[in-house]
Symmetry: C2
Subunit: 332 residues, 2 copies
Amino acid sequence: MTQAAPLAEIWRGPFLESVHAGHAVICDGTGQIVSAWGNPDAVVLPRSSSKMLQALPLVTSGAADTAGLGAEHLALACASHQGAPRHVDRVNQWLSDLGLTDNALQCGPQESRDADLRIDMIRAKKSPCRVHNNCSGKHAGFLTLAHHLEAGPDYVAPDHPVQTACRDAFETVTGMDSPGFGIDGCSAPNFATTMHGMARAMGWFATAGQRSDRLSKAATRLTEAMYTHPDLVAGDGRACTRLMRASQNPIALKTGAEGYFIAILPRHGLGIAVKAADGATRAAECAIAALLVRLKVLHPAHPDVAAFLNPAIVNWDGLVTGEIKPAPGLMA
Amino acid sequence: MTQAAPLAEIWRGPFLESVHAGHAVICDGTGQIVSAWGNPDAVVLPRSSSKMLQALPLVTSGAADTAGLGAEHLALACASHQGAPRHVDRVNQWLSDLGLTDNALQCGPQESRDADLRIDMIRAKKSPCRVHNNCSGKHAGFLTLAHHLEAGPDYVAPDHPVQTACRDAFETVTGMDSPGFGIDGCSAPNFATTMHGMARAMGWFATAGQRSDRLSKAATRLTEAMYTHPDLVAGDGRACTRLMRASQNPIALKTGAEGYFIAILPRHGLGIAVKAADGATRAAECAIAALLVRLKVLHPAHPDVAAFLNPAIVNWDGLVTGEIKPAPGLMA
């Protein structure tokens, strides 16, 4: 975690109140580093930014086709969704199609991040369910693969066929052995790799449409699912959804816990990995927006871009008291 | 913001997932630095960690005595409270005693951080009020002083007599001119100073009981109010409250937004100022606990200390997936 470079600044009035450092790597389709900030060799857990890697075996195995999954299912498999009705209803239907219920999910229950649904559930005295967990689509994908492989129900065990398939895919596309895993917020293993490894994987995803092997075809299908359904990948107000929509060319974006963020840019043939070394989401969102502006993928004046690139800090009474902005050198 | 030193580490399984850097200074009653990490000359906004400085004019002016304020009122004036019934009811009564209502508060409305009250209010379809704002006690103190000074209702204006009195007190006890202010989350000016300036002020507070001047007497009264009513300074589960209670000797602790934390240690005659450079509360809480263990003020095995010094990271399903711990060299 040494050599982190400045990513984002927090200003209040005339004072630089806080500053975020981290690592960022842009790779092309061959895995070569195009630009880097911080330490490309830093080993990091990409958390939910690796969901499209974890979804590769779902497609390559044939499980997705056998189960009749469409682009909406695949977008949800790659999602950290809001637990809004549009997400919860689709995952519940998917589980029902598998002959399963919420109980089959190994992720824990999480309160919905959708303000209206959360308030409705509080008023109706309903407890959060596993399907409301932001990872429930990924887990529905795991269950689909486990069923296809005729494997047991404990699909988050690191030696379960679902997870060994995920690890194989992860190591193939990052181009290196993973040094190990941590247990994620949803109880699934999350495999570690370097910043370069993750950016290499994103560059590989971005150029998958130029190749015809099974793994590349699966990557293209997942990337297309993400940018076709940005509202399913995250939700209203969220960075992934708003920034994907703000791009004129199709791009896939995915946040991860503890300040991770990735971008897949098929038109440019580039992939990006960002990690705020301190784990701050506000820094990762600002930095990924700045890098996408740098690459002319996003326009800084677009309201949905400015909302993350240079958001106002607003206090309890609605006064603007400061702003977040990218560290010098990141955007241009 | 240069030269920040490591303060706290975030581990997930075998991986150092994130790391927080910042500044920490320990000062004695003469303002001499006893120990320091990072940059003592870093200029920072101490945010709510400066509330006991902002409350000094309330006492020195005679306003507190004229209004008949007791230790509970003074603890609330120094508080970032939870907006629990115990806080809200006392501030409402205080306002009523002044012949005022919630409408006189210039802080904006904030949803209660007390889980039961928040849920009750959602079910009763009640909107958050200004009195629920974590700063409502500080603002009740401002209103009390404004009334005593026969000054106007816009008590958060930087040139209002309440705020010029706050600035005078702030500069006196930090021992230096403030380079300016930012507007805080509650709309009041928040004066900037160096880490050394803030630690000097805390050392001055810690030794105030040894002096008989009016300002020192006010400081002693505020410090005693804080450690006599730790539940009013923050609330259930909060670091200030739990760590003050965990100390065998009376100490006063106060968190501030964007990773600030201070400690006043009368028995040791020492003051501490901590700032996580990235603004992370989890880092400031871990670091202040580590420094208090270092000074043998707190015991690392006490459950309320361990909860901030070395908390487990628990996922949605209740599994322990990692831990937070102080950076090497901070605790010993």
